[in-house]
Symmetry: C2
């Protein structure tokens, strides 16, 4: 039942995710799995929402960053950690570093919102501003690492991060038995951890990824069977704008059953439905799996469906349905 289906020489497997789970247990929440009879009726399925919006720092990213930081040996850890992130991973890394009492350097584009900068700083993270381009972010991060000896903790192309993100799926499947799991895809850290955990614990489970049609590089790549980097249109699901990672894509090809896309309208509608019906706050990226069900992209009829609600960090002064 819980056989480890990854071959021993693969670096991301169920053992590694279970080890991550033990490692991060003192520092993250076991989030509740919530249900809604209204949404069950509306969808014709039984839905189980793993509420990572209720996780520390308001997102599943607390899991991966904490695992990566606590997996470092003492000598390496002492030199600190670094990353480039304008979102939840930066906050999660700053928090994890604070817990381990080591420095964290977070490279952020200089047009980042004050809320995000303040979140990193509230955990004692050292913010390094850069121009808002991918190359500037990477250069600034390399520079910090050269100067400090800090270890790069990439937000998704890092097996310890992927293993940490996969711990949410372990908890979900310990609590409920489901026929499929739906998970948003940005860089693929959560998806890789989720897919390896789920397929290892329940070999017959289906794992479906969902992404905005306006940032559909993962769907294109999955169907073309090769990694395609695309120009992105704007999507409100800001956590999913990134391209799928080079180290993530082969894992996705092996363990994920399908990648589907959703419209911007469906994302906003799904977000509002979940707020209104479940009385919880989710960010647009977290609404993408439910949006995919509503748009009929996934066959869920009569099935038991696990959905990872990835985060709840939203600007309450700028809700997408209020103009």
């Amino acid at each position: 039942m819980t056989a480890n289906i990854a071959s021993p020489n693969m670096s991301l497997d169920l053992d590694r995710i279970r080890a991550a789970h033990e490692r991060i247990r003192p520092y993250v929440k076991r989030t509740p799995v919530l249900t809604s009879s209204r949404l069950d009726d509306a969808s014709g399925a039984s839905l189980f929402f793993k509420c990572e919006n209720l996780q520390r720092i308001g997102a599943f990213k607390a899991r991966g960053a904490t695992n990566a930081v606590f997996a470092l040996d003492d000598a390496t850890a002492k030199r600190g950690v670094a990353t480039h992130s304008s979102g939840n991973h930066g906050t999660a890394l700053a928090r994890a570093a604070k817990l381990r009492k080591i420095p964290a350097h977070i490279v952020m584009p200089k047009n980042s919102t004050k809320v995000k900068v303040r979140a990193v700083e509230s955990y004692g993270g050292h913010v390094v501003f850069c121009e808002p381009t991918q190359s500037a972010r990477e250069a600034a991060c390399a520079d910090v690492i050269a100067k400090t000896g800090a270890t790069l903790i990439h937000s998704f192309e890092n097996e310890d991060v992927m293993a940490g993100q996969g711990t949410a799926a372990i908890e979900l499947l310990e609590e409920v038995d489901v026929d499929l799991v739906i998970c948003p895809i940005g860089g693929g850290g959560l998806l890789c951890g989720t897919a390896v955990a789920a397929k290892s614990m329940r070999p017959t489970i289906k794992v479906i990824a969902a992404e905005p049609a306006n940032a559909d590089d993962a769907a294109q790549s999955f169907h073309a069977k090769k990694r395609i980097v695309t120009e992105k249109k704007f999507t409100i699901a800001d956590g999913l704008r990134t391209n799928v990672g080079e180290r993530n894509f082969p894992i996705i090809q092996r363990y994920v059953d399908d990648v589907v896309t959703v419209s911007e309208e469906a994302i906003v509608a799904a977000m509002r439905t979940i707020w209104e019906t479940m009385k919880i706050i989710i960010e647009p990226s977290a609404a993408v799996p439910y949006a995919a069900m509503v748009e009929g992209e996934i066959d869920i009829s009569g099935k038991r469906v696990g959905i990872i609600l990835t985060g709840g960090n939203v600007d309450l002064d700028a809700l997408p349905w209020i103009v």
Copy 2:
């Protein structure tokens, strides 16, 4: 430890609340108790939030109405139930009646919002409109009862309702040990059930009620040691506008340690803080206990504090911090 401190001839006691808990178990959720290290840091206490906003129909009212409906004998139940309510109790009663397959007549002021009317109707409740005055509500309800033989299920002056509402406190105290419990007060149904359950399970616990300063009849009554009915100013905490019930007040005098009041500004600020920090949606009435802590009305320093978050039914198009 769980001695029943109410005398045998009193109608609301721990046995009755435990019986209610058994009776409603198949029909309501055991809601999670959530914590927030940020709010613990901010308050200097350990806070345990019993999330009745995540309850069926989005409020604790599901508990009391379900208990009252399922406590009826078959012959009485068959004739249906009735109430006057412009809020969550009406929805809760309609839902409970539907579960028992009996009619529910809900008297609502004709200026009720469409959302509230639709909520009652979505559970098959029969809505009877009346003029928006207390006397018109009572007259319309008496009229329905005379015509149909339905049983009045008052939203708070009913011991089965109070017993049902008290089941949230049982679950809270089964899960965590606390020094005090803070609970909002409107009519007093939740407060009576909570106070009797809490004091019976843990005789040393303190039970504090909180209400808007703009609807402070319970605080006035408590301190004057006699029930005072007041003219209300407007409060955003619409669930707490009512006067404390005649049958509720003696129970409150006996079991509640203090009643404190809060400003409108503090209610809105507390609501936003909980949304932002905990990623859950609560209605203004549910924010009143946290507002009381922020305004320094309650000595919580270093204590373990249980807070009942009563509901999450909010118009998402009209948030109080967006003008």
